[in-house]
């Protein structure tokens, strides 16, 4: 069965995408079948590290929004009172505020007049491409859409070709994070060696533990901060699988779009040993 590794960590900009692409390539170089899933659907960018991608499929993600049939609405307000997201107001008739709606469908059920129906709208796209020896599935949430959940779920449903599923997760520890790491076999925390990285990582760890997901860590930009990340890991009993030192020349290469597995010999060796550690852990 495929192994799902979620790269996440709370803070944005810690190197999740960089290390997800690097780790995916390290698996490829060991002859493994890999699916890389870009779940940061508000800002998907893993594809930028690949030069030879060939698109194999593209499909729309639909979600249903409630629509009130004005002539049947009696303005009783039950839909509004039911909606915990305050996405419905009742002035003369009920009005659905799409940008607040989480598509739970509750209003449709509670309307005593049957005046609310659901209409499908396109909220995003899932694009599958192959290249670099792997399969890359990216989710794109349309601008103006508030809820990334359905797009994230579709990417996960589509990206199942590999033995190793490398999940590049969105920052934060809220809904999008939860949706992304749900069902992962392990969460590989990509944590920056700064007080900010440590702070946000603590929150992500709490959520992951609540969900029953094992957490391991890669410390990124190691040596540039105050070492607090390592103290957090020790306190929480989290194993640090790798430390990626901060190297200006590597960052220069990445900034030119060179993929992380090719950017430096040192980084490649770290990614290979990270891959081996994960393989040993999973396959015993």
């Amino acid at each position: 069965m495929a192994v799902r590794i979620a790269l996440a960590g709370g803070k944005g900009g810690t190197g999740k995408t960089t290390l997800a692409v690097g780790l995916a390539r390290a698996f490829v170089s060991a002859g493994e079948r890999v699916s890389l899933l870009d779940l940061d659907v508000e800002e998907p960018n893993a594809h930028l590290f690949f030069k030879d991608l060939r698109e194999v499929s593209r499909r729309e993600v639909l979600s249903s929004v409630p629509v009130v049939r004005q002539e049947d609405c009696t303005a009783c307000g039950r839909c509004r009172d039911f909606c915990r997201f305050n996405a419905i107001v009742v002035f003369d008739k009920a009005i659905v505020l799409e940008e607040f709606c989480h598509r739970c469908g509750g209003c449709v059920l509670v309307c005593p007049e049957g005046a609310i129906e659901e209409r499908e709208v396109v909220i995003g796209e899932v694009v599958k491409a192959v290249g670099g020896g792997l399969e890359l599935v990216s989710g794109w949430l349309k601008v103006g859409q508030a809820n990334p959940g359905p797009v994230i779920r579709e990417v996960k449903a589509e990206g199942v070709g590999g033995q190793w599923l490398v999940l590049d997760c969105p920052p934060g520890s809220g809904c999008a994070f939860v949706e992304s790491v749900e069902g992962a076999d392990l969460l590989l925390g990509v944590v920056e060696d700064t007080p900010f990285g440590a702070h946000d990582f603590r929150k992500a760890v709490r959520v992951a533990r609540e969900m029953g997901i094992d957490v391991l860590v890669v410390v990124n930009r190691y040596g540039m901060g105050n070492g607090e990340v390592l103290r957090v890991c020790e306190e929480e009993g989290i194993e640090v699988l790798a430390k990626v030192p901060f190297r200006e020349e590597v960052h220069r290469s990445l900034a030119r779009g060179i993929d992380p597995y090719s950017a430096s010999g040192e980084l490649r060796a770290i990614l290979d040993s990270l891959r081996d550690a994960l393989m040993a852990r999973v396959r015993g």
């Binding site: 305050n86 107001v89 009742v90």
Partner: protein, 108 residues
């Protein structure tokens, strides 16, 4: 005309709350009766949609005019749909904001 101001405590002497959607109280002045009343905004701690909930509260209390320090763009749109005129850049005590508004209206 009924005029509402978000306030930080349930009294007409209270200072305005700089947040519209997340104010706990609205001070409402009725120009016909000359009376003040304070209503609670049930959505003040809502995790989502505090703006819509606040607009709903004003609408339920038949408010015509809202005076606030600032109002977000979504709330502004919804206030327009609700037929409530909204004015920004008011601050200080709630009662004073209402008086200032009435004076400016009278001088027109």
């Amino acid at each position: 005309m009924r005029i509402a101001v978000p306030v930080s405590a349930p009294s007409k002497e209270a200072l305005m709350d700089e947040k519209f959607g997340r104010a706990q109280w609205f001070l409402i002045y009725d120009s016909q009766s000359g009376r003040y009343e304070v209503v609670e905004n049930p959505g003040f701690e809502a995790s989502s949609g505090a703006g819509p909930a606040a607009v709903q509260t004003l609408r339920n209390h038949s408010v015509d005019v809202l005076l606030a320090e600032n109002i977000g763009p979504k709330a502004k749109d919804l206030l327009a749909v609700a037929g409530i005129k909204a004015y920004e850049d008011y601050s200080g005590r709630g009662e004073d904001a209402i008086r200032e508004f009435l004076t400016s209206q009278g001088s027109r």
